[in-house]
């Protein structure tokens, strides 16, 4: 909780700085814009976070987004049998689940490292996406226009996208923090062997984690199509996996597994969005934006590691500044 408080204050501080830097007339616009972006990217961070807590990692998220977006367009725009949008959406989510299953199956039954499996997936699914659309940009605007108009709106001053994320967040929170299955995710992430020795079907739960992560990616893909009205097969979703993982890690998920919470992931996502927004306000060149994000992430992780060891900033500084051991 203490840890969450830290990043929560950090988030508030960032938002405060943004408001300070901004003309009050544009506060509402900026808020809506931020809410939409957080609502979108939060989906990916939640998926990645669930998986990271269970001790896995998925580098293929971005490619899965690309693949799912392309397949969705293909299904809807198909000249012979165009599918209604809801049907196509369900099929795409099933595709996401299938991809996750394949990732998880390779990790558990073939015992290939998750990093390698999903790195291969990054290439595999991207290629598949480009092949499906033949690298052409599909004309999807007219089909999804009504949905886009609805989703760009707000209810109670909160953008629809953010509402959508909050629903997913609630579901994920209940799953992770209140159910037996969530507890097993933590157990497997912390110590897979001890989990197996406790009678937990570790393979099942690991595959489930990959399935959830990829399904969240497919849901994001649908939202992406709705929001941006465009899909570029070679580009859509590119590097999003890194933003998703970064958001989860910022939110307190440890890549060692077994650590993190849904609330943290939510805050982490928000920080990931607020940082570029702030650099924008401060007129730092947008070319430096990734550097700022990377630097902030690094600082947070270092801070977290020091806190974990119960050292803190002061000791950190003094240890390196005047360590008598430095001579040896």
């Amino acid at each position: 909780m203490k840890k969450l408080l830290g990043i929560f204050l950090f988030m508030l501080a960032l938002y405060g700085l943004i408001l300070l830097a901004l003309d009050p007339d544009s506060w509402a616009d900026n808020r809506r814009n931020l809410g939409q972006r957080i609502g979108l990217e939060g989906i990916l961070c939640l998926g990645a976070g669930l998986l990271i807590i269970a001790g896995g990692v998925d580098l293929s998220i971005g490619s899965v987004v690309g693949l799912c977006a392309c397949v969705f367009c293909k299904l809807v725009l198909n000249e012979e049998y165009p599918l209604p949008i809801p049907v196509a959406a369900v099929l795409v989510m099933m595709l996401g689940a299938l991809v996750g299953f394949v990732n998880g199956f390779l990790v558990t039954y073939f015992r290939v490292q998750a990093f390698v499996v999903t790195l291969c997936g990054l290439f595999l699914y991207r290629g598949a996406a480009r092949w499906v659309m033949d690298d052409e940009v599909p004309f999807i605007v007219t089909h999804v226009k009504p949905i886009t108009d609805f989703c760009r709106g707000s209810v109670l001053e909160i953008p629809i996208y953010l509402w959508f994320l909050l629903i997913l967040f609630a579901l994920a929170s209940v799953f992770l923090h209140l159910t037996v299955h969530g507890r097993y995710f933590y157990a497997i992430g912390s110590n897979e062997r001890a989990a197996a020795y406790s009678g937990i079907n570790t393979n099942f739960y690991k595959i489930l984690a990959y399935v959830l992560c990829s399904m969240f990616a497919s849901i994001y893909a649908l939202m992406h199509v709705v929001h941006y009205n465009s899909v570029e097969p070679p580009k859509t979703g590119e590097t999003l996996e890194l933003y998703a993982i970064a958001g989860a890690v910022l939110g307190g998920c440890s890549l060692r597994g077994g650590e993190g919470s849904t609330l943290g992931i939510l805050i982490g996502t928000a920080i990931m969005r607020l940082l570029p927004n702030l650099t924008n306000m401060w007129e730092i060149p947008s070319t430096l934006e990734p550097t700022v994000v990377g630097g902030a992430l690094l600082l947070c992780v270092i801070f977290d590691e020091q806190m974990r060891r119960g050292v803190g900033w002061r000791a950190l500084f003094f240890r390196y500044a005047r360590s008598p051991r430095a001579s040896g």
Binding site: L178, V180, N191, A196, S198, E259
Partner: protein
């Protein structure tokens, strides 16, 4: 001649605990000084201070009568003080020689720093031969058995030409013959004038090799025994500060009723029937039976297949043939969940790796295997879970500030009790304990023995795997001895003796 090492009035406090309070210690050259005490008595802290891992809050340390301050591990090694940790600190992907010389490889080529491979292999080979470690110095450490890895650690310390050698539970993973070899080596080092601080919970070993025993209790000196006075009971009395009677609870039981395990009256049908069980093609089928209320000891050397057998019974290891029946009902192999449902519980050999989630709290560790019992429709009932944890902690007398304490912060004995508590909220039909008392203090040991006895009297079949012959002799109603993946023999209570067990465990070859 001044003593080699003098520790005077050393104190050390950690947040919330006074680990050491004015402890004194003297070590002469060529002396083997055993430092014993219950877990949490401060032995490890004292050793870590000597090895430069911790700095004392007060007190002095003198080497050859000259005060020294030891600010780091490198400095301690430079002074000739080397600590061999109980947990191995080896780089598994490097070879034996690479580990022995890790961090101080002889090099050639100046700043280019090419490793002088010939020299480290030659030097390492000389040391490992002396230790009786027969493996090639080019073998990767991760491919060695735990016992062999321990010898690599000791070889590393010897290569440092240390004057004070500190061994923290060095034999906890060694086989009998490796232990013998180690003692022989210690004898030689002693003749070379090296002082040895020897920490062990195995009092039998202490009796055997120590020249003097220093007992710590609650961070203070509790007493000291010269060579002539060293005996099991005297050490135990100093350690616990009271007379500890009936160490092996099974014996008392036996003495009162004559026949162990017969108190329950249900001795006829075997509770557990194992037939032709195999987990590897290079190993014959294993068959045995255990009756309800019986404690069967399983002895054997390291690598004889005892742990593999336990893992196969529990289903974490795949079997290739054979059947297991509980109360006549066959169970599906290869799935821990099925084994658990049938009432087979395993207390694994390495509690830190297989038994516990060290970063998590006591409550979650106790409930993880029986989460269904405290949940409804897949939702964890947090209050029931907390109550379960509290009840189990009370029942097993887990000494912890609360059930939200992180398990990794508890002492070894209390950690082991948490592992037991994790399973025993349910009633076992077959309880398998793999090295149940390794590395834990006598008080906790005694409690665990009492518990095994209680469970057996309630009708559980207990299979106790142990390398501690004292424990095997003290607790077992019957002993199965494993050798090279097979049951080499079975000994009834009347026929039990260390010699008989070792005879079978070593393949029955008389020398």
């Amino acid at each position: 001649m001044p003593p080699l090492l003098t520790v005077t009035g050393v104190s050390k406090a950690f947040p919330g605990v006074q680990a050491l309070a004015k402890v004194n210690l003297e070590l002469a050259p060529g002396e083997i000084l055993a430092v014993v005490g219950e877990n949490g008595a401060g032995k490890s802290t004292l050793m870590k201070i000597l090895a430069g891992v911790h700095q004392p809050d007060a007190g002095t340390i003198a080497l050859d009568g000259r005060p020294v301050s030891i600010r780091g591990v490198k400095e301690a090694e430079h002074l000739g003080i080397v600590l061999i940790h109980q947990e191995l600190n080896l780089a598994g992907h490097l070879d034996v020689a690479g580990n022995i010389y890790l961090g101080r490889e002889p090099t050639w080529g100046g700043i280019l720093g090419f490793i002088d491979r010939r020299r480290i292999h030659d030097d390492s080979a000389r040391i490992t031969r002396r230790l009786g470690l027969t493996t090639d110095t080019r073998a990767l450490v991760r491919d060695l058995s735990i016992g062999q890895q321990q010898l690599v650690e000791i070889a590393r310390a010897l290569s440092l030409s240390s004057r004070v050698l500190i061994l923290d539970e060095p034999t906890s993973s060694l086989t009998e013959s490796e232990t013998e070899r180690l003692f022989a080596v210690l004898g030689e080092l002693k003749d070379d004038g090296i002082g040895i601080l020897y920490i062990s919970h195995r009092l039998k070993e202490v009796e055997k090799i120590a020249d003097r025993v220093v007992v710590l209790r609650d961070g203070r000196n509790a007493g000291e025994l010269p060579r002539a006075d060293i005996c099991h009971q005297a050490i135990v009395n100093l350690m616990v500060g009271r007379e500890l009677k009936q160490f092996f609870h099974r014996q008392r039981h036996e003495a009162s009723s004559g026949e162990p395990g017969r108190a329950t009256g249900q001795v006829d049908a075997p509770r557990v029937q194992v037939q032709g069980l195999r987990w590897s093609a290079r190993q014959p089928g294993i068959s045995f039976a255990i009756r309800a209320g019986e404690i069967v000891g399983m002895a054997g050397l390291m690598g004889s297949g005892r742990t593999e057998l336990a893992e196969t019974l529990f289903g974490v290891r795949r079997s290739i043939a054979g059947t297991i029946a509980i109360d006549g009902k066959p169970i599906r192999l290869g799935r821990p969940a099925d084994a658990i449902r049938a009432g087979i519980f395993l207390i694994p050999e390495d509690r830190r790796i297989d038994g516990l989630i060290l970063d998590d709290n006591v409550k979650h560790n106790i409930s993880i295997a029986v989460l269904q019992d405290v949940s409804r429709f897949g939702f964890v009932h947090f209050r029931q879970e907390a109550r379960l944890a509290q009840v189990m902690c009370d029942r097993f007398r887990v000494r912890t500030p609360g059930t939200t304490q992180i398990v990794g912060n508890l002492s070894g004995g209390n950690q082991q009790k948490v592992v037991l508590a994790k399973w025993l909220s349910r009633t076992p039909r077959l309880l398998i304990l793999d090295e149940p008392t390794r590395g834990i203090d006598v008080g906790a040991k005694s409690e665990i023995y009492a518990l095994m006895d209680e469970l057996a009297r309630q009708g559980a079949a207990v299979l106790m795997i142990s390398s501690d012959l004292e424990e095997i002799l003290g607790m077992s109603d019957r002993v199965l001895v494993m050798h090279q993946g097979a049951v080499a023999g079975e000994l009834e209570r009347a026929a039990l003796s260390e010699e008989a067990i070792m005879h079978l465990a070593t393949g029955g070859v008389r020398t």
